[in-house]
């Protein structure tokens, strides 16, 4: 169990990151709010509590690495990186503006702190596997973390990466599935049924856990368990709510990428600050 103080501090960070993410997207007027908001707890846990990183030296040798394979969650990653000090916070208002360093999907050539370029779904996990393999070849004790989407898991490449990672016994690879049960066109249950993800990953030879993706204690315990498994890569399936914390988007079908009006921006932030829904 995490200390109460740590949980409170992480929860405060999560609120800040959610507010920044809403502001980023609202400033432009629309964007990938749903899948950004659903991963905020795991992002904040990794960046504020878990990973061995140095924002003043983004390319530090031997660091832990993070690949956001669902590259469209860039806005939440950028809000986190800015808060960590990888780049000035005012960059966040340039999201997707021509010439920006913060493009819609994560780009390692543009954004300090991004460890790999993603955006074409299914590709980030293979890169993460390569990175984990590279860490092992170099004799590092570091870890590679990646987040994939449940919709993204419809890509065949995910499963190519899965079978390779388990065959190579990559115990230093910890992947999360953001299991928010929604994809661009609607609910996964209406498009491709993803209900049996746990058994799929087990069948591919991974160590599998399933937890509440918005609960820091469960995230902490799952990562600890994953690290104790030395010869298998780990899948941690996060039950999450798409658009979590952006109230106007929660529970609706079309929340993958949506317009955010100034009124909804202020309303959602007031809810995050304790106002009534």
């Amino acid at each position: 169990m995490l200390d109460k103080q740590i949980i409170e501090s992480l929860a405060a960070k999560a609120k800040d990151i959610r507010i920044s993410t809403i502001r980023e997207i609202a400033h432009l007027g629309n964007g990938h709010i749903g899948g950004s908001m659903s991963i905020v707890e795991v992002l904040t846990y990794l960046y504020y509590h878990e990973m061995n990183i140095d924002p003043s030296n983004p390319k530090m040798e031997g660091r832990d690495r993070f690949v956001c394979s669902k590259g469209h969650a860039g806005p939440a990653v950028y809000a986190t990186l800015a808060d960590k000090g990888y780049f000035p916070k005012d960059w966040l208002m340039t999201l997707n503006v021509g010439g920006t360093n913060l493009p819609s999907h994560c780009d390692m050539r543009k954004t300090p702190g991004i460890d790999f370029t993603t955006g074409s779904l299914g590709q980030g996990i293979s890169a993460a596997v390569g990175i984990a393999l590279g860490q092992r070849l170099k004799g590092e004790s570091s870890y590679t973390y990646a987040i994939i989407g449940d919709g993204e898991s419809q890509e065949g490449q995910i499963w190519e990466a899965a079978e390779f990672a388990s065959s190579r016994k990559l115990g230093n690879l910890i992947v999360f599935t953001d299991f928010n049960r929604q994809q661009l066109d609607g609910f996964t249950s209406e498009i491709i049924n993803m209900d049996n993800l746990d058994t799929r990953w087990l069948g591919f030879g991974w160590h599998v856990q399933r937890i509440n993706g918005h609960d820091y204690n469960q995230i902490a315990e799952a990562i600890e368990n994953a690290k104790a498994v030395k010869c298998r890569p780990s899948m941690i399936i996060l039950d999450t709510i798409k658009s979590k914390g952006y109230a106007p988007g929660e529970g609706i079908k079309a929340n993958h990428s949506m317009p955010i009006s100034h009124e909804n921006e202020e309303y959602a932030i007031s809810v995050l600050n304790g106002g009534a829904k």
Partner: protein, 314 residues
């Protein structure tokens, strides 16, 4: 620098280069997709067991893993047959390797008709066009064991992504070490009536014969061997176009996206010539031995000589 005149097969010249690089550069690694024995990659695996990865029959993941390894400072060479290296792993090579600024050397073996008895499913005529669409990618199509060896060594130094297409079995000895430079064509014959611009080992071999056949008819042909399809040796192309006014481009690939289209587009802007093309038009591949395929796809020395003669007389 190694002399490859004792190496019989193209694949062994390639493996020799990768092994020589790996001896000097500990970051060199080799990935394959269940075609390792076809490339004689076990020779590499034996010498560097921790630096060889058989990724199984999963080309997309192989290229993605290679890109991830590159981001860790490794320099991966990744192999499959040309049809799969291009068509099955294209988005991964495009984005995770090239767009992401990584340093991945992709190898596609048995290009075009050299796929022979693997047949139409395995016969990439389109890989050149697909790869030419990737910004700043280096494309190598060697014409002998030495050019393959030397260009592999030189391409390593660029720090850029490359695509190399070469047949595996069989080989030609044409050059001495150091004669071929990345991005530069080589003049194999000098004549004022027509310039034959050829790429790919089996095609250049035919073009050499065609030059002799043309000479017997009193037609003097220049022959340019293009071993680097991209970046193109535009200075040399402009020179031979200007000197002869007739350019015949010959390749083991589709016209669409191929070397012929690249040369035509460049000369149209700079130094137009009367042109024709030896290449594969709107056709898929088919099964057969090399001599059969060279005939049905009209890639033989006789085809080249006939088109060159007609073009020279235009």
């Amino acid at each position: 620098m190694r002399d490859t005149s004792d190496i019989k097969d193209m694949r062994d010249a390639l493996m020799a280069a990768i092994i020589d690089l790996a001896k000097v550069h500990p970051e060199v690694v080799l990935l394959d997709s269940d075609l390792a024995s076809c490339l004689n990659a076990p020779v590499f695996a034996k010498e560097f067991p921790t630096r060889f990865f058989n990724c199984g029959i999963a080309e997309a993941n192989m290229v993605g893993v290679a890109a991830g390894l590159s981001s860790m400072g490794f320099v991966p060479y990744a192999h499959s047959f040309g049809c799969f290296s291009s068509r099955r792993a294209y988005d991964q090579f495009f984005l995770s390797a090239n767009y992401a600024g990584q340093h991945v050397h992709l190898i596609g073996t048995d290009p075009g008709v050299t796929a022979q008895i693997n047949g139409g499913t395995h016969m990439p005529f389109e890989d050149v066009g697909m790869m030419r669409l990737i910004p700043d990618l280096i494309i190598i199509d060697p014409s002998d064991t030495q050019s393959l060896y030397d260009l592999t060594m030189q391409a390593y130094e660029t720090g850029r992504c490359t695509y190399t297409r070469t047949r595996r079995k069989g080989g030609t000895h044409r050059y001495a070490p150091g004669q071929v430079k990345l991005g530069k064509g080589n003049i194999l014959a000098d004549g004022k009536d027509i310039a034959i611009v050829a790429t790919d080992e089996v095609i250049v071999n035919e073009a050499v014969k065609a030059v002799e056949m043309l000479a017997q008819k009193g037609i003097k042909a220049t022959l340019v061997d293009i071993t680097t399809i991209k970046p193109l040796d535009t200075d040399l192309l402009e020179k031979v176009s200007g000197e002869t006014g007739h350019v015949l481009v010959c390749e083991n690939a589709r016209y669409a996206g191929g070397l012929g289209e690249a040369v035509a587009a460049h000369l149209a802007k700079t130094c137009p010539a009367k042109m024709d093309f030896i290449c594969v038009d709107e056709r898929f591949g088919e099964v057969g031995k090399l001599d059969y395929l060279m005939k049905v796809f009209h890639l033989t020395a006789e085809d080249i000589a006939a088109k060159a003669e007609a073009l020279a007389r235009r």
